[in-house]
């Protein structure tokens, strides 16, 4: 399972990077989203995958013993997903505004911020 997820993570990073290298603004945002997913999946995989070993303290014990699935990476991912959702929502709204204002989707056309101003 780890091997499959590793390859999946790698493909997500590759796809995200490829999309970001395109000139289209929309593909840039898609690429950023894929990069975020890749990072989340990486977190999930590196936390170690364990099946059927929930981190519950057995009755009569005072601490966890034996093998158990680490809940922390999953908590991290949940946080990261929520944050990523907010960021992506903002990014989507931003490209809409940019498209409305500049009338183009091509990143190479956006050079006003690099002019001899300000």
């Amino acid at each position: 399972m780890e091997v499959i997820l590793s390859f999946l993570t790698g493909s997500l990073y590759a796809a995200g990077l490829y999309l970001m290298m395109r000139r289209s603004l929309f593909k840039l945002i898609l690429g950023l989203m894929l990069m975020g997913h890749a990072a989340n999946l990486l977190l999930f995989t590196i936390g170690g995958l364990k099946r059927g070993a929930p981190p519950f303290i057995q009755e009569g014990m005072s601490r966890l013993t034996g093998d158990f699935a680490d809940p922390l990476p999953q908590a991290l991912i949940l946080t990261a997903i929520v944050i990523g959702f907010g960021l992506n929502a903002f990014a989507v709204m931003l490209i809409r505004r940019v498209h409305e204002t500049t009338g183009t989707d091509d990143l190479d056309e956006m050079r006003h911020a690099d002019g001899p101003i300000r």
Partner: protein
């Protein structure tokens, strides 16, 4: 047991509740102004109080939810975090007061005050947290606030600058998150103090090096170090100037602070390649930034490139990683935060006084006669940035240079001196162009090599707008005075920086306090 010093969480809660109050007063400009200025003022007091507490008692920690240390999230304020939080609060107050006259009505009513407070909360949180993942969360708070501030009220150039900024910073966040995940996988903890103990036992130099480089990449994008700085001059000068001042003072410095914290605690002591790598990057950042500054004509862009160049000095201190070098970097960081914010505020006042919202210095001039007070105020941050005594920038550079020479890093010392000279040149040219040369109307044949006016860059303000004395000059005066004070009180201020630096290099006290063992 000592009572838990709740003052440590005040710099996070105060801006949080102020932001809520500002949102509650949505659309009512005067109410929002008062709430926001009051909140920022209280934040300054809380920052000062926290600094005094930390200076007297040593590292102050708070276990959130009272979970025992390595498992729960802790806030840990040492001298470094507390002093930077205090400086950030003062800069926040100055920027917010400036916004009351320097911002158009729409941007003011539509959220500037609330989001500025969120940004202060993010910065203070990042300075005070003792947990890597919590640091990531504060970075995201800062980031989303900065996205909104940058695009607020957006014109064309502003939105385009925002796209670059958003894209780069989201990449940085993804890298940061992946690095946090890998770090947890290898070391098995996210608590900074706990990790500082455990990394010594990890015997995987290649893996730790790779993780450290990923952190460097993530923080490097945020701190705008070579070769990852190109987004900054495109983004920072585009929003209205109080936002630029807030960004210039806080954002890049938070990135560099994170670098000092994580690399200083976790990576640099355990591998040899960090020193040469960081010093090389520092030298290149200085030279590239200052060369960029000299090639520019816009006020905001000149300051932005100066900001990039001067990140090199702080990185140099981290690369040297001696008590003296790191102390120089920390002292310089506080000074640079203040100076850059002041210069952005002056840039805004200049743009208002000349009616040149684009900030093109070729179409300025003669401000020395019309605004002598503003011209005099410009001298303080310009001198400090160029490293002239008695301003703060001089002592910071002196400390860094002495540390570099003591460790026989002659070429980085040369680069630092060259960058200081280029800064002086850049500031002198700015002074000449904006204040000293005759105004455009008195020059023969109009503005030589005058740029064509682009329709979308029509000045937003009337020319020669009056700057209200108290709201306009007081923030600049306070910040410039602070820079002078930091320079005049260099001895005690350097002692503070020295103690902060020793806490990073020998983190025993930090670890003891953070893990909650008996001191």
């Amino acid at each position: 047991m000592m009572p838990v010093p709740m003052i440590i969480i005040a710099p996070i809660l105060i801006p949080f509740f102020t932001a809520l109050a500002c949102l509650a007063a949505w659309g009512r400009r005067r109410v929002q102004r008062r709430i926001c200025i009051l909140g920022a003022g209280v934040l300054c007091l809380a920052g000062g109080q926290l600094f005094i507490t930390v200076w007297r008692q040593g590292v102050v920690t708070l276990r959130l939810g009272n979970w025992p240390a390595p498992y729960g999230i802790i806030l840990a304020a040492d001298t470094l975090g507390a002093s930077l939080a205090a400086v950030a609060a003062v800069i926040g107050l100055a920027a917010i007061v400036s916004a009351t006259y320097g911002m158009d009505r729409r941007r003011e009513t539509e959220g500037f005050y609330a989001i500025a407070q969120v940004m202060l909360m993010g910065a203070c949180g990042a300075f005070l947290t003792g947990d890597i993942f919590n640091l990531y969360v504060w970075f995201e708070v800062l980031l989303i606030a900065s996205f909104v501030l940058l695009s607020l009220g957006g014109g064309k150039a502003q939105l385009e600058g925002t796209v670059k900024y958003v894209a780069l910073n989201m990449v940085a966040s993804a890298i940061f998150l992946a690095a946090v995940g890998l770090f947890y996988g290898v070391v098995g903890t996210l608590n900074l103090a706990d990790a500082a103990v455990k990394v010594a036992e990890v015997n995987a130099p290649a893996l730790m090096g790779a993780i450290g480089l990923m952190f460097l990449l993530a923080f490097g994008i945020k701190a705008a170090i070579f070769p990852l700085y190109f987004w900054l001059p495109a983004a920072y000068p585009t929003p209205s100037f109080p936002v630029s001042a807030l960004f210039g003072g806080l954002l890049t410095k938070v990135g560099l602070y994170a670098m000092i914290r994580t690399h200083g605690l976790l990576f640099i002591p355990h591998a040899d390649f960090w020193g040469p790598l960081l010093l090389t990057l520092a030298g290149l950042t200085m030279i590239a930034g200052m060369m960029g500054a000299l090639s520019q004509r816009g006020f905001g862009r000149i300051i932005s490139f100066n900001l990039v160049g001067h990140m090199g000095y702080m990185l140099m201190g981290l690369g040297l990683f001696s008590p003296m070098g790191l102390a120089g970097a920390i002292y310089y960081m506080a000074a640079d935060m203040i100076d850059i914010a002041t210069l952005f505020l002056i840039g805004g006042a200049v743009a208002l006084a000349t009616g040149n919202a684009g900030g093109d210095t070729r179409r300025m001039g003669g401000l020395w006669e019309r605004r002598p007070f503003l011209a005099a105020l410009f001298i303080a941050p310009a001198m400090s940035l160029s490293g002239l005594p008695p301003m703060a920038g001089f002592w910071g550079k002196l400390g860094l240079l002495r540390a570099a020479l003591a460790d026989r890093h002659y070429w980085i010392a040369t680069a630092a001196l060259a960058a200081a000279f280029l800064t002086l040149l850049s500031m002198a040219r700015l002074w000449e162009a904006v204040f000293w040369k005759p105004p455009p109307s008195e020059r023969h044949g109009g503005p030589e090599r005058g740029p064509e006016r682009r329709p979308e860059q029509r000045p937003e303000q009337r020319p020669d707008q009056n700057i209200p004395f108290v709201r306009g000059y007081a923030p600049i005066l306070v910040l410039a005075g602070l820079s002078l004070l930091l320079g005049l009180l260099a001895e005690p201020a350097f002692q503070v920086a020295r103690s902060a630096a020793e806490n990073i290099i020998d983190p025993a006290a930090y670890i003891r306090a953070a893990l909650g063992e008996a001191p």
